[in-house]
Amino acid sequence: MIRKFTNWLYIMIIAAATGCVEVIEFPVKDDTSQIVIYGQIADTAEEHYLYVSRTETHNRTPVGITGASAELVDSYGNRISYIERAPGIYVIPEGFVGMPGVAYHVEINIDEQKYKSEPETIPSHIGQDVPYYEVSEEPLESLKHAYLTYRLYVFANTTLPQTQDSYFLRWDVEEYYYWELTNFPDIFNAPAPDCYIRDKVDRQNIVLLEGSVTNASQVNQMLAMREIDVSFKNRHYMIVRQLSTTRESFQYWTRVSAMTKNTGSIFDTPPAMIRGNISNTSNPNEEVLGYFEATRVSISRFFTVGGYFAPLPKWCEFDPVVPGWDPSNYPDECVDCAQWETPRPPWF
């Protein structure tokens, strides 16, 4: 009797202590849209991107702005123009390498409005990463059933810059993998086309380190987490990009991190608009979102093969039972890679 009562009691308390989270309708005022500019110039020979978009009302996805003209300007007055690759995506082609110690800013013209970023100098110091991964098998519970999930955690052992100067580091993790499209029977026995996909991993998790807070010469930290799915069936690269940034950029990303971790709790930092380093020189009162940063980059990578560490579901495999072998009966990602495809990098 007492035991039953105790069990009931703690079940009730646990249920209450667990609390609940639910999606709610939260109407907001239809505000005017704002310009968003984000770009990065680095000391690598990769393409250097500049994204120009405009926020949409009702919390919809921002829309890329076409027809803008943009230039990268260095502290010597040299100018390089960006090329519009797609709506809202502007690029300086491969080959240009930013120089440490040189300051850069961007100037953008949109509908006769001139936008300009504050100059940023590419830092001199950067560390070196030795990335590795761990796989974890974790139980997840829903109201109806329990199941296992597999997660790949990306770590890095980082040798920090040996300097008395201040330095500010941030890490991005990207993935590159081969995506196997469905191999439909073909009279010419032609295989499905290759498909390589590049994406950011754990993009809401921002890892930052300020050199002044540590005496260590090395740190070890978890950088990102990726659910293991069928994309791990073939060779799957994880690319760790260590970015050495300016103090101002570091502060900006610290604020970004605070906002992405904000849960609205009464113990949270109150949220606010994040001010970047871009302004409208024609209209200084305009609030422009985003940031243009100059960084030094150190890249390291590893890959996994075949998903041997976790059972993978069958996906996009040809099924002779499907009537007519009709590709339209297959999910889009099994048939066409066009919207995700990126060129195969030379090291793949």
Binding site: L9, Y10, M12, I13, I14, A15, A16, A17, G19, C20, V21, E22, V23, I24, E25, F26, V28, K29, D31, Q34, V36, Y38, Q40, Y51, S53, T55, T57, N59, T61, P62, E141, D172, K200, R203, Q204, V213, T214, N215, A216, V219, Q221, T254, R255, M259, N262, T263, G264, S265, I266, F267, D268, P270, P271, A272, M273, I274, R275, L289, G290, Y291
Partner: protein, 806 residues
């Protein structure tokens, strides 16, 4: 028989007769000459003491022919002014049997009264949040008192009776939500409330991140919240004062109590060390919530730990018949660790000595010396750099208070000294770590205040309380003060010079005159109108930019760049009682204006910062509202209904956008909740049981909401509205509890069963915006931390009920 012997026997017999008459209602005490003094006004005075312990009893209401004519003070002394005539005088106190006398008053009289405890169970104690007549007669508007026995009847989270949470059922008192530490009084910040335990300042006193307060119900006697006009003998905060009186140990018999509950166990003991001379009271409360965590399957939760405790002990002595000397100590501590990811610990220690003495029939004095310390830490055992951040505030307090009473005046004067010593903020490695140790020196401030106050009651119609507090503050070295470019926003980029101050150097001085006025005008026997005004200065501030105070908040004294917060408080109230004070009603309007209210720049960096002024901005605060209160005092069913409409707004308009908030326009504070409704009901059930119900409804607190989103380097970012432009959904909760007395016949015990959040309503604790799956939109989520009904049970056994229930 010779004359001396006859005289002596006559005198002794007369005194015995007078004593006997004084204890009986049926006979009449005659004072003075009824023929010569007809029509004149005389005073009745004396002291009210506990017949068992001999201790003075404060708060005893004295009635003459049914009308309240006085109340005993902290020394048990009372004063009543009456026209010559015949009276039936009754002395009433919540836990004592009433004493009544028939008095023919035709001269100034002295009547000392000893009161006996009520031989009743707890369930028979009447609900008297505030003496019904007191609300009419006292000059001070906007003060509410609550006896701990009343607080015990309110259904409480996990069955833990809570002084602070109990106040939230009264008008004008709110909080930002479940589990928030502290309360907001009439639209003020939590740090604008002065919290006193036996007249000694307590800086922080919460358990379990704010879900519980650290004042153990077993040793709390009663508590008074001054919402509007704070008497001049209290100061140092801009909004309100909460004065908590702790019990003294019994001087005649040992007793105790043991309680077992769902989240903590409690025990206390009290009794005489030297009978009638020295007594002891000691209590302890220790958490037992970890078993709940162990039951959770989530490994992070089950490997977490939460512990808290509070210990209170007091030794009371009576060196002479006219004086008492008490020593008190309160220690509270908390430890909370989530898995191996992060944790908090914080503790508070308050020690004090109080000496009270009656110097003459009209003059009494008390002296308080105290030392307190509040220390806290935040630690991260894992991650790249395991570390622990600590900060602390120590303080010394001294106060001399002198009370002088006459027929029409109760005058108080005194001096108070506060010595604030904030300790260095420290970052240290935690375990094996390469974190660089950091020490940020903090500041010292000394606040001295002189005060005088007089409550003048020339007749039954008018009572005027007028006082003034003169406060003087100086910040003392050692310290480093930065000079910033004139006309530029304060930031690390605009530092132009640095000044070093040696130990003891005066860095900056502030002072102010704080008038306090309260006027009561009676409109007949059952109605009164009250007006009050007070100005208050605050030199010590809690630095926190979260919506609710956190356990690791910094306390910061005023500096050259952090001016004292200054408030002007106005209120007017109408009070009316019905049916012999069975029903009490009131309506109060208030307005508060605050200068130099502290706010924070967006993304302010408050920790490990030796130039906090670059992160803070000071603006204006404004709060106003109307409070309506209806209470039933007597009968088997008692309780109250309260409704408050109020606003609390802030204006920060600095030199630049960086130093302005919401473009320099008024915006709602974090605790602006316009509509608050509360209903409390207590039903006695024969013979010693009870049923209690409470209901709360309030407008949701303000938040900043996402108005659009954008993408930066793959990260989806929310674009937030101006500060506090939106609100979380409204809050509603109903709680019930049932008291069952004498569960086991041979024991003096009590079982309290109840359900918190009976309706199982999923009240919003917060609303946050998060990226959902592969979508680039940010979805609004509502988080409810107490999303269902929550039962509780507490079983209490009392040993020697006479002592323990005192």
């Amino acid at each position: 028989m010779n004359h001396p012997l006859r005289f002596t026997l006559t005198l002794v017999f007369s005194l015995l007769l007078l004593q006997a008459l004084a204890q009986r209602t049926s006979n009449t005490i005659v004072v003075g000459d009824s023929i010569r003094n007809h029509g004149k006004v005389f005073s009745m005075t004396g002291a009210v003491t506990d017949s068992t312990s001999g201790l003075p009893i404060s708060g005893v209401n004295i009635f003459a022919n049914g009308f309240l004519v006085g109340t005993s003070d902290a020394q048990g002394k009372y004063f009543a002014t009456l026209k010559a005539g015949n009276y039936r005088m009754v002395f009433r106190y919540i836990t004592a049997l009433p004493k009544s006398y028939r008095i023919s008053l035709f001269g100034h009289g002295l009547l000392n009264v000893q009161m006996n405890d009520k031989p009743v169970n707890l369930e028979e104690v009447e609900i008297q949040a505030q003496g019904a007549e007191q609300s009419l007669k006292q000059a001070n508007a906007g003060s509410v008192s609550m006896n701990i026995e009343q607080a015990k009847r309110l259904p409480a989270l996990l069955g833990e009776v809570d002084v602070i949470k109990s106040l939230q059922t009264l008008p004008g008192v709110t909080s930002v939500g479940e589990g928030s530490a502290g309360v907001n009084v009439r639209g003020g910040r939590t740090d604008q409330n002065l919290m006193l335990m036996n007249d000694v300042m307590v800086l922080s006193s919460n358990h379990a991140m704010g879900f519980l307060s650290a004042f153990n119900q077993d040793v709390v006697s009663n508590f008074t919240l001054y919402k509007g006009n704070v008497p001049s003998y209290y100061g140092g905060r801009a909004s309100a004062t909460l004065a908590i009186d702790m019990k003294k140990g019994d001087f005649t018999a040992w007793g105790g109590q043991v309680s077992v509950g769902t989240s903590s166990n409690r025990m206390f003991v009290e009794g005489p060390i030297v009978k009638d001379k020295v007594s002891l009271i000691a209590s302890g409360r220790f958490s037992n919530a970890n078993w709940l965590l162990r039951k959770v399957k989530d490994p992070d939760v089950s490997s977490s730990e939460i512990n808290f405790h509070d210990i209170y002990a007091a030794i009371s002595t009576k060196p002479t018949k006219q004086s008492t000397l008490d020593f008190n100590i309160l220690n509270t501590g908390d430890y909370f660790r989530f898995s191996d990811e992060f944790g908090y610990d914080w503790s508070s220690l308050v020690t004090s000595m109080n000496f009270k003495t009656i110097l003459t029939e009209r003059l009494s004095a008390y002296v308080t010396l105290a030392h307190g310390r509040f220390e806290n830490g935040f630690f991260e055992p894992s991650g790249a750099e395991p570390s622990k951040l600590t900060n602390a505030t120590h303080y010394n307090q001294g106060k001399l208070n002198i009370l002088y009473t006459t027929e029409a005046h109760t005058a108080t004067t005194g001096v108070e000294l506060m010595d604030y010593r904030t300790r260095p903020e420290q970052l240290r490695p935690y375990g094996i770590s390469f974190v660089k140790p950091v020490d940020i020196k903090k500041d010292r401030g000394i606040e001295t205040a002189f005060y005088i106050e007089d409550e003048w009651t020339p007749n039954e119609i008018i009572s005027l309380s007028a006082g003034v507090r003169a406060s003087f503050y100086s910040q003392r070295g050692p310290d480093t003060v930065y000079q910033y470019a004139t006309g530029m926003p304060r930031s690390t980029f605009t530092i132009q010079d640095t000044t070093y101050y040696q130990k003891g150097d005066a860095i900056v001085k502030y002072n102010g005159i704080e008038p306090r006025l309260a006027l009561r005008i009676s409109l007949g026997e059952t109605r009164s109108v009250k007006l009050s005004y007070s100005r208050m200065l605050q030199y010590m501030h809690s630095i926190s930019n979260t919506t609710s105070p956190t356990p690791i908040d910094l306390w910061q004294v005023s500096t050259p760049y952090l001016s004292p917060q200054k408030s002007h408080n106005f209120s007017i109230g109408y009070f009316q009682n019905f049916k012999d004070s069975k029903w009490v009603t009131s309506a109060e309007l208030y307005y508060r204006d605050i200068d130099d209210q502290i706010e924070y720049k967006d993304f302010a960096k408050l920790f490990l910062n030796n130039h906090l002024e670059t992160e803070l901005v000071q603006g204006k605060g404004r709060a106003y509202g109307v409070e309506v209160f209806l209470k039933k005092n007597q009968g088997n069913m008692t309780g109250w209904i309260s409704y408050t409409y109020s606003r609390s707004l802030v204006l920060v308009n600095g030199l630049t956008d960086d130093e302005s908030i919401n473009n320099g326009e008024w915006f709602p504070s974090n605790y602006d909740r316009p509509h608050v409704f509360s209903f409390v009901m207590n039903q006695k059930i024969w013979p010693n049981h009870g049923f209690n119900l409470s209901f709360n409804y309030s407008t949701g607190r303000p938040i900043s909401a996402v108005i659009s989103n954008y993408n930066v380097n793959g990260t989806v970012l929310p674009n937030f509205s101006g500060r506090n432009e939106y609100r979380i959904p409204n809050y509603m909760r109903m709680d019930i509890s049932v008291e069952v007395g004498n569960v086991i016949r041979k024991l003096d015990d009590k079982l309290m069963l109840g359900v918190y959040n009976l309706l199982g309503r999923q009240n919003a604790y917060s609303v946050y915006f998060e990226k959902s799956g592969q979508s680039f939109r940010l979805t609004p989520y509502k988080l409810s931390i107490l999303g269902t009904l929550l039962p509780f049970i507490t079983y209490t056994v009392t040993f020697n009920s006479k002592a323990a229930k005192k």
